[in-house]
């Protein structure tokens, strides 16, 4: 009865509540043109705000931490530039020597430190770390639905983009060039425990590793141009699952070693590597179980990587690894090398042209380690060894 007696009151209260909800969700769009306005917009803005940066150079004195859902957008890589002030110079002190946990990265040394906030977009600007900061963007724990694109990231001492437990995010259309050197814990894109990450249309250069992944779950790395003398991709930890690397240009190796890397997932595939162009003679660092490598062109010309075998391993594995429908030109030392036994290796429907190269070996294209079983298969291939027998 009461609901029938006072229908108008109920309706008005509902309308007021809806207005309050709309006000709480409404995001502001602001344009900033100097660093003071930028810092104020980020620090005092609300979740989901859109902050447009006018063309210009913004000299930051400390790390920025955007609110969840914020969009921070410049006018382009050439026209909007963020860099640290001379006094914000943590330098190499505190650079991580071990990437295991989120505590290994200091948020105060990154231009953007996102913490665990979700849904942040950063785009259309240059983030120049000037060899002072450890990196440009840091996600310390469990952020998701991020998008970082059309950025020119350079000068990071440790990483361009570094993240722990990042999920369902994309990194695309960027140029990233770190100055990081010295050990294996530096990379243009360094993701520990990533889930469902898209990395595409990025041009990665500089001396460090380009993409480093710890336990790669369903990442899709495609259409990148990776020009470096260090590893193009390194995913050396256990239990990758359904990771796909395709349509990339690789000047340097892809490394997926780990004593077999644990049990393959339900799909049977830890890593699927297909339709890439590879230049290094030392192309795939192995051994991992549950791998498919197919439809690649291995045109093994890269200076600095002419020594080595296309697949090189120093550990045992149970397979399977399916290597098929690839074109392979001028393998350096050979095609497959392992110091230990690797089982269920299937090499089929490939075409190999082995011209003489300065450092070629003639002691076998395939060198299987001691105890290799009869489960390995080499069939339906074409081997053309010109001039010198292999």
């Amino acid at each position: 009865m009461n609901r029938v007696k006072h229908p108008g009151l109920v309706a008005r209260m509902g309308a007021i509540a809806a207005l309050f909800m709309a006000a709480a969700l409404q995001a502001a769009t602001v344009t900033v043109s100097n660093v003071t306005q930028l810092v104020n917009a980020v620090n005092n803005g609300a979740a989901n705000d859109v902050i447009n940066l006018a063309a210009g150079t913004y000299v930051l004195g400390a790390s920025l931490t955007p609110k969840p859902g914020m969009t921070i957008k410049g006018t382009g890589k050439v026209t909007t530039i963020l860099k640290p002030s001379a006094s914000w110079n943590p330098g190499p002190a505190g650079l991580p020597e071990d990437p295991v946990g989120p505590g290994s990265a200091d948020p105060a040394t990154y231009m953007f430190s996102l913490g665990g906030n979700d849904g942040i977009k950063i785009s259309d600007m240059t983030l120049d770390c000037l060899s002072q900061l450890h990196g440009a963007i840091l996600i310390t724990y469990d952020g998701k639905n991020h998008e970082f694109y059309n950025l020119n990231i350079k000068g990071g001492l440790s990483a361009g983009i570094r993240a722990f437990y990042i999920q369902s995010s994309s990194i695309h259309d960027n140029t990233i060039d770190t100055v990081a050197t010295g050990d294996e814990w530096r990379a243009c894109i360094f993701l520990a425990w990533p889930y469902d990450i898209q990395i595409y249309n990025n041009r990665l250069t500089g001396p460090s590793m380009k993409i480093k992944l710890r336990q790669d779950i369903r990442s899709h790395i495609h259409h990148n141009t990776i020009l470096t003398d260090n590893f193009a991709i390194e995913a050396p930890f256990d239990n990758n699952a359904d990771a796909e690397y395709d349509h990339n240009f690789f000047k340097s190796p892809v490394s997926i070693p780990k004593m077999g890397g644990g049990d393959p997932p339900a799909s049977g595939v830890q890593n699927h590597i297909h339709h890439n162009y590879f230049m290094p003679a030392y192309a795939i660092e192995f051994a991992r179980d549950g791998v498919e490598i197919d439809h690649n062109l291995f045109d093994l010309l890269a200076a600095g990587w002419e020594d080595g075998r296309l697949i090189s391993a120093w550990c045992a594995g149970d397979g399977p690894a399916r290597f098929h429908n690839n074109l392979i030109k001028d393998p350096g030392y050979g095609l497959f090398f392992n110091t230990d036994a690797y089982n269920n290796f299937q090499f089929y429907n490939n075409h190999v042209i082995a011209n003489p190269t300065p450092n070629m070996y003639t002691d076998g294209l395939f060198i299987f380690g001691e105890g290799a079983s009869n489960t390995d298969v080499i069939k339906d291939n074409i081997f053309d060894c010109t001039t010198r027998a292999r």
Partner: protein, 172 residues
């Protein structure tokens, strides 16, 4: 073909040309097709700029075509350069605020290697300044930038250089 314990493997139906140990295993002919089962054609790299067609790879990158015109602001990378609205013919934005040591990188795609004229549209209130056109660390040309009477008073200066595929840099 083999070292180590490889002879325990199943080896069959391979085409073996100039393989030193071909007589050490049976390699029976099964009649199955050999080599890739279909032609290998795909694009790769950023925006599919590289085309794999069988054993060859070619570039169809979005780099500026030469001969052609490159807007100064359309560089692939730069150091300490800013842009501003230009009053030169055609409008758009010019690059400016250049100091000694600043630079811009451009990706170019030269259709045919050869000697080309390179025209620079420049404006300066300073005399006796220079630009360098470089490929990697090699200086292809040094360009003298004259006093033009204003930061928006534009003149054309020309150099003649051999150009090749890939990237060019302009250093201040």
């Amino acid at each position: 073909m083999f070292g180590g314990d490889g002879y325990a493997s199943t080896i069959e139906n391979n085409s073996l040309t100039n393989v030193s140990d071909a007589g050490s295993y049976a390699n029976p002919n099964t009649g199955a097709p050999r080599g890739p089962l279909a032609p290998l054609n795909f694009v790769c790299g950023v925006n599919g700029e590289d085309v794999v067609n069988g054993w060859t790879i070619s570039v169809v990158n979005p780099a500026a075509a030469i001969p052609g015109k490159i807007e100064a602001g359309n560089c692939s990378d730069m150091s300490s350069i800013q842009t501003e609205t230009t009053t030169d013919t055609g409008g758009g934005r010019n690059v400016g605020y250049m100091d000694t040591g600043d630079w811009l990188d451009y990706s170019v795609n030269v259709a045919t290697a050869g000697t080309y004229n390179v025209d620079f549209r420049v404006a300066s209130l300073n005399a006796n300044t220079q630009l360098q056109l470089k490929k990697g660390s090699t200086v292809l040309a040094t360009v003298n930038v004259p006093y033009t009477g204003g930061w928006q008073n534009w003149q054309t200066v020309t150099v003649k250089r051999g150009l090749y595929r890939n990237s060019l840099g302009i250093f201040c």
